[in-house]
Subunit: 313 residues, 2 copies
């Protein structure tokens, strides 16, 4: 193992349902990675140390470790209080909270205070990583992080200025699994969605785009099934389009001036890109590998490790 | 039993989850009533006749019977195809569908056709009943029927002109029971909502009233809990306010010119009345007993029974 490949940091994205870990060298390059269904809802508090040992088994145990995500919530290992917007990478690095024992540090979340507040844990680190990977984005960009709780994050001057959370992924899942809208599709044969799914998705996006809120549209999923306008297989694609379309409509009420940057699962980002195009927004960018990049940069800024310079042999 | 009290009709509101039955005299007065958890999702198709016998046990079996609701859907006993708006009581009466055997007739549902269609089954009969009970409402009124799938129905010239369905009740239930928003409240002690519930409800209504859609607000239920702005017990009241407030905001985008008329469970109607007042709408009316009244009038118009006249002894 050359010095370039020397492990320097263990980086953790420790969320509600899963724990992802990366072994990084002194330049932040990924030497190894691991993933386990050991989110904070799956693991008892007294078992966090064991979970960490399990997912990093075989990696050097003397290394410093840094974690972002729900592990810093009140239900996590140690609470890392929220920082208020605007928040820079340096602010995050200055506010790391140590887990007793001295090996692991937790990145704080971010809060947007107002009558209707909003919070994030984990995404702030991904944003820091995206800016580290693409320094041009620090000047000013809007990021979209699709998922269970999709975040729209506005960055300028390398700081998170404001953000909004859309529960699009979770709302879709609970309506699919537990409401009348998902019933027929749950009983449909798996291949029923093979045809027409994409058109049904865009039909949903367009309906939401032309409306001023999702409330009077949701039941149309059912009404279209009943009247033969959608097959059961297509109906969930239409529902997905309604929800993502309504999210985009709402988020674009505050114009950004440039196409957003997507961060997330490629298939989900592709879905958002198709929906954005219905709003006349093409050319949305994408950044990958943001979580380990952000964790590495924050750890470096905090002095947990000494980053290798380009000049290093 | 005097002639006035002679049973003339069995009226049924047969929905997804329950079956309500009334024994009516020749003026449509309720002589007896019954209710059973024998909705079409609880009863197999071949058992509908037994369910009807069970809920009407002890009532004269020679009477004609009329039913509205999901019993007329494709999953019901016999399908009663939708009539397109505008629809009058006479239209409904002319389109009754007999169940083989000759004793029971089913009221059709109503459809609003468009790119984003909407359907109802059962509410059309309640509207017919409301107009029968309050003839002034036939000239022009907007009805609101809160519930699992809340309907806003515009009537003029004694016809259902248009309507919209809001899944407010079902969305609330699935978010409460299956999403992160209900988690803390599900774990809270039952008395946690005793204080502040009403204020939290109105706070949610106000937040939705000032917004242009619910999408960026839902997560504030969670964010307010996390930041101490709401107790776990209050959070579901706030969520209820958000959803009902968003429904009202959306529905009022099409002004009606007069306060709406509420039809439904008194406690739920009271909740809607409090929310409406935040939109500056006071004096919403209420009509009770609409289902048996509507069923009676439709049956009479269809000639299933001969209505007793006021002159009848």
């Amino acid at each position: 193992m050359t010095r370039r490949d020397t492990p320097r940091l263990i980086a953790l994205d420790w969320g509600t349902s899963s724990l992802r870990a990366w072994l990084l060298d002194g330049r932040g390059r990924v030497l190894d990675s691991a993933r386990a269904p050991m989110g904070i809802m799956q693991v008892e508090r007294r078992e966090f140390a064991d979970a960490l040992d399990a997912v990093t088994a075989g990696w050097p145990q003397r290394l410093q470790a840094i974690a972002s995500g729900m592990i810093g919530s009140t239900r996590g290992w140690v609470e890392a209080p929220y920082l208020s917007c605007p928040v820079s990478l340096g602010d995050l690095a200055s506010a790391l909270v140590p887990v007793p024992g001295g090996r692991l540090w937790i990145v704080p979340g971010v809060i947007r205070t107002s009558d209707v507040p909003d919070v994030m844990r984990g995404e702030e680190t991904q944003i820091a990583g995206a800016i580290a990977l693409r320094s041009d984005l620090g000047h000013g960009a809007r990021f979209v992080l699709p998922g269970t709780h999709c975040k729209w994050v506005d960055v300028s001057d390398s700081r998170i200025k404001t953000f909004a959370t859309y529960m699009t992924g979770e709302v879709f899942a609970v309506l699919r699994d537990h409401s009348i809208l998902g019933g027929p599709a749950r009983e449909a044969t798996p291949d029923a969605s093979a045809t027409g799914g994409s058109a049904a998705f865009l039909r949903g996006v367009d309906a939401a785009r032309r409306a001023d809120g999702i409330a009077p549209l949701l039941f149309s999923v059912r009404a279209l099934e009943v009247t033969g306008g959608l097959t059961s297989g297509e109906s969930l694609e239409y529902l997905s389009g309604l929800l993502i379309g309504d999210e985009i409509r709402s988020a674009l009420a505050e114009p950004a001036g440039m196409p957003p940057i997507l961060i997330g699962e490629p298939a989900l980002c592709a879905r958002y890109r198709r929906a954005l195009s219905r709003f006349g927004i093409d050319g949305a960018g994408e950044v990958e590998g943001t979580a380990p990049a952000g964790l590495f940069r924050i750890a470096t800024a905090a002095g947990l490790i000494e980053a290798a310079t380009e000049a290093e042999p």
